[in-house]
Symmetry: C2
Subunit: 441 residues, 2 copies
């Protein structure tokens, strides 16, 4: 086999926080292995960090606080953006691309919200903007979708793509605790931020789903088209009733190609307990993808953490180095996997989707209430798959209904009508159900 | 984004059986999607098939029975070898590479046993021999190991990589049937061959494990170094006792980097029931990989079938097309993922491994038998983790022992000594145990 070419590729890193620091550490720790794989050395030659720690940059030729010094360093071939946030990260990436450098980023929010603009600049400069680490941490899901499954028309994908949310759902289920209790515990353990909104309201998952959807379906990034619902309304009772029905509740990002267009939605979801995805617990991530040729494949692993994320950042570096050594003078992969994007595809409004539904109806303990509810559902053409009616604890008796497939707009009207009954005491909790019938996994 | 370059890449296919036929069908069915992704057309221009069906080759410029006509067709840029077997597949691949063509093959036996030779030819010709479809069907596990996890030093991997074997183990567990019964049923369903030796004795899995190990550890293909044990000695009792202990039995391929070298072994294995891998049932495949940076990641999906395998064959085609369009004049990826292979690494003899063990000892129902067994284990330094002793059914009472970690050589000596006791009626059934403590999956 070949001996290493002796080539050296100079890397710049902007941002030495969790991911940037992890990347630097990984490049050091696995230097020998990486050189054997690539046949060239990946050398960090320039670092910029707001709070520069001199111990971290021993042996690095240049370091400082200004990321634009890295952007404008003619020796840097590949720039790693691990500052996070929107500004100055956007300008750092933009100007690095304009300077003809390849860029590797872990910045999911920036890619999801401003990626279209950045990819256009990258393309016009013949540079690559790589972002494997932006979704599902160390799981190579971008590569799987863009390359490993490239022969398929993707029908749908569904993923647990926020570790914090999955940790909370898992703890609520295993300990029968309320959402607030588990959130406090997650914050104490460092699994949740002081302001947990991005995680628990599904915004972080929506960023990742936006990216996955573009690669799956060949559409421009449409963060604005992603429907988002958080997990704070889920109760231990919902988890228990779901369990009785053979389901568990996961906070999923789901993207689907339907007759109406592309659905992109993040929300709590009942999935059959027997599915592999239902068994992905704690801070783990997993993405289930259904292609028209391969069927369903699942990718699971750690979705966050310095080392796992660094694994994906460095995988992007290695890819870029390999392409360059092979003599590729143009980017090998279109950034979102398609040379021809589908610009005119419809994003389906959440009211236009069809799903099965779980309803928890806090009804008064009176004769005829079930008959009234059934007749309303029937009037909207919604049929019932299963019912659990429990003995009354107080004056309120929870009625749990699983519906067959229905249009969400009709379901919403039915919920409104049921809530207006005198027999119904409080708001109905409605959770979407995904049976994943098309897959054996 | 770019419009397609209008480029056309001519493909030849040798062998139109399950996989070759599936590949042709997939290239037709997803033609539009593939062209949008690649920016070029993948056109099948020449087909060779032993039993040529004229309906299948409508619209193909050339077809015939001689694979070497495809090998020598100057218009064919990429040749797909889906004939299977060793000859003439070896000569077809070899001569295609010598003619400067890239080759895509699904032939795991050939790659595992003669791949070293073929990769050397490919390298000296600057051609690529791609083989994603040779392991785990439609799951892009080769790509994950070679590229997605390239930043990692791989510590170990463990996979369910034979669908037939996993179907049999799953059915035995769910229906408490004996091996022979389930095998007959699998043959009737077409899940097992008339001669099932390759599947049930683990030879097919050993071929795949050989390939995965090379990519994981950078060693040449060493099929001869892979230890293989089949599933025909597993009984419904073993499955039941394992279940009582919290385990299920899977036929795994395991490769591990230990202090002594590289372990490669295929054998039935007890794994904790709570692991994701334990929940991969039926004909499904899954590979769990542990890297020093990312930790554990799992890849699961269909491991066989025309469509799933074709998905991987065409993914290889798309990669080759993308590399070529980007101007790469050398192969982008070293075939086994390493530019510098480790030629001198030790393959660990099975007697030198360390594992935990499950022992089912058919003992006579006499006083003192357990004391005798314990004292023999102790004399070999083997400590006991758990014991189940059942009431006697006949004169024989099964004693089930889980040991702590021990060297297999010592365990074998202990088994021999225990079997020579007057108190022990029949041979002991010994199954290795993998707790996968290092992973949360």
């Amino acid at each position: 086999m070949n001996k290493p070419s002796g080539r050296k590729i100079n890397i710049g890193i902007c941002g030495l926080g969790t991911v940037g620091g992890g990347t630097l550490a990984l490049l050091n720790e696995n230097e020998a292995e990486i050189t054997q794989r690539v046949g060239a050395s990946l050398c960090v030659s320039h670092i910029a960090s707001r709070s520069l720690n001199q111990d971290e940059v021993i042996g690095i030729p240049q370091s400082g606080k200004d990321p634009f010094a890295v952007v404008n360093d003619p020796n840097v071939e590949i720039l790693i953006e691990t500052m996070g946030g929107y500004e100055p990260a956007f300008d750092v990436i933009k100007n690095a691309l304009l300077n003809g450098k390849h860029v590797v980023t872990a910045n999911k929010a920036l890619i999801a919200e401003r990626g279209n603009e950045l990819f256009e600049i990258a393309e016009s400069e013949g540079a690559v903007l790589a972002f494997e680490s932006s979704v599902a941490g160390g799981i190579p899901i971008i590569k799987a979708l863009r390359e490993g499954l490239a022969a398929n028309k993707i029908n749908w994908l569904a993923g647990i793509i926020n570790g914090t949310g999955n940790f909370i759902m898992t703890e609520m289920a295993s300990k029968q605790c309320r959402f607030e209790e588990v959130l406090n515990q997650a914050q104490a353990l460092g699994y949740a931020e002081a302001d947990p909104t991005f995680d628990i309201e599904g915004i972080d998952a929506a960023h990742k789903l936006t990216i996955l959807s573009s690669i799956a379906f060949g559409i421009p990034l449409r963060f604005d088209g992603t429907y988002t619902e958080g997990i704070s309304t889920i109760t231990p009772e919902d988890i228990r009733y779901s369990d009785e029905l053979g389901y568990c509740i996961k906070h999923l990002g789901i993207a689907r190609r339907s007759k109406k267009g592309i659905e992109m939605r993040v929300h709590p979801t009942l999935i059959p307990r027997s599915r592999l995805l239902a068994n992905v617990d704690g801070v783990g991530n997993a993405v289930l993808v259904h292609g028209n040729s391969v069927g369903a494949t699942l990718y699971s692993g750690p979705g966050a953490g310095a080392e796992a994320t660094a694994s994906a950042v460095v995988a992007d570096l290695i890819d870029l180095a390999r392409h360059s050594i092979a003599g590729a003078d143009k980017p090998v992969y279109p950034p979102l996997g398609y040379k021809q994007m589908l610009d005119d595809i419809e994003i389906v409004d959440i009211e236009d989707i069809e799903a099965e539904y779980y309803l928890r109806i806090p009804a008064m303990d009176r004769v005829g209430v079930m008959a009234n509810i059934s007749s309303i559902l029937q009037s909207y053409g919604i049929s019932i798959e299963a019912v659990i009616q429990k003995e009354a604890i107080s004056k309120i008796v929870p009625i749990i209904i699983l519906t067959h497939r229905a249009e969400e707009r009709k379901l919403n009207l039915a919920i409104k009508a049921i809530e207006s009954l005198d027999d119904v005491a409080e708001k109905i909790n409605r959770i979407r159900v995904e049976p994943f019938d098309e897959t054996e996994l």
